[in-house]
Symmetry: C2
Subunit: 221 residues, 2 copies
């Protein structure tokens, strides 16, 4: 049975968070990749910590604070100008090479397409706009004030799209996000571009794809 | 005002989780440190993911699964014998060099001492027993089926010790654990042995110490 809506994760799935590394490198030669990795790692950790502590803050704040931490940890001097420029990079992240054709194909096939993201609207809306990818809905966890992989997040998508959980196809490159969605009841494809092992969280995705380009063929079966 | 009870985190605070690296190195020369780091990272991530997904599993299971993941990710062949031996290492972790004298001093000063840990009793009880450190209580999140830094965990300590949150002194080397405890209402000392920046989670510890040896002096003030 074909899903009635396809819901995509944004950061790491459609948009390459590490495309900020180049700007990082231009500011601190030799440290760009390390900074980008630590920035992303802390950003994610703090979404989990804040959710468990019940101290939600918008993703833009968490991302900004994670940048400050990462620079401090790596002894990279960060001033307001560089901080603002790097936060702006996050609003213009590169689209993965396999995204545009896949998006066009799925849209052409008549699927309802949505984004379900940790990103607050101040971050995700400009990013989606500049990407020129069209979605029927861009849903942010900001509405439920808890981050992925809490079930409230996936419930938001089902509710806002008016589609039963089992009729939503969910697509994420973040394995824990894919498995959180599966635990909630979505049909799930994990985009495993890096060839990583599966996370061990009691669930398995319905399919594991090496890129978004394979999605159309899988859905057509 | 002196705390009525002192509550310690176990893994990373009293016990050095990376003391497993030596055994890892003996099994896979050249990969011991990397394996130990990835094993610990995944172990922690999955405590957060499972808690948010509401799919709790005991820490012994999570630790075992994280070992399997880490070996797979690093292409290190893991058989049942090595797996059992490494899990056994976790029941005999080294005590940090600053622990014994600090523990003896605080006990001599008459403090009630407890452990509050992610560890399930099948892991933590043998570890504490072999360390020969005496505690008035060893409390496991297993009782509330959610991991740190959820407030239910810290509430368990207050309830089981019969001490108000504000009269508990909490000690952890894991900054997010310290701040989760602070968010709940404990007095908190973060043991920052590595000189890391402070996590940015809306709270600050009451004190930042470079080792457990400083705790007695701080409490005597």
């Amino acid at each position: 049975m074909n899903p009635r809506a396809l819901v995509f994760d944004a950061y790491g799935t459609l948009f390459d968070v590490h495309s900020v590394a180049q700007r990082c490198e231009s500011f601190w030669p030799g440290a760009g990749a390390r900074l980008s990795q630590l920035w992303r790692a802390k950003q994610l950790e703090w979404t989990w910590h804040r959710s468990l502590m019940r101290r939600y803050a918008p993703f833009s704040q968490v991302t900004h604070e994670a940048l400050g931490y990462a620079c401090a940890a790596l002894s990279l001097p960060l001033d307001e100008d560089r901080s603002a420029k790097l936060m702006q990079e996050y609003r213009g992240l590169a689209v993965y090479p396999d995204v545009r054709a896949a998006h066009a194909g799925l849209r052409g096939a008549g699927y309802r397409l949505a984004i379900l993201t940790n990103g607050s609207h101040d971050m995700i809306d400009p990013l989606v706009a500049q990407s020129e990818l069209a979605f029927d809905a861009v849903l942010s966890v900001d509405e439920v004030r808890v981050f992925k992989p809490a079930p409230e997040v996936y419930a938001l998508a089902a509710k806002r799209l008016g589609v039963a959980a089992g009729e939503i196809g969910f697509v994420s490159s973040n394995c824990w996000d894919a498995l959180g969605a599966k635990s909630f009841g979505f049909r799930v494809w994990w985009i495993n571009r890096a060839g990583a092992p599966l996370d061990r969280l009691d669930f398995e995705p319905d399919g594991i794809l090496s890129g978004l380009g394979e999605l159309s063929a899988v859905l057509a079966r």
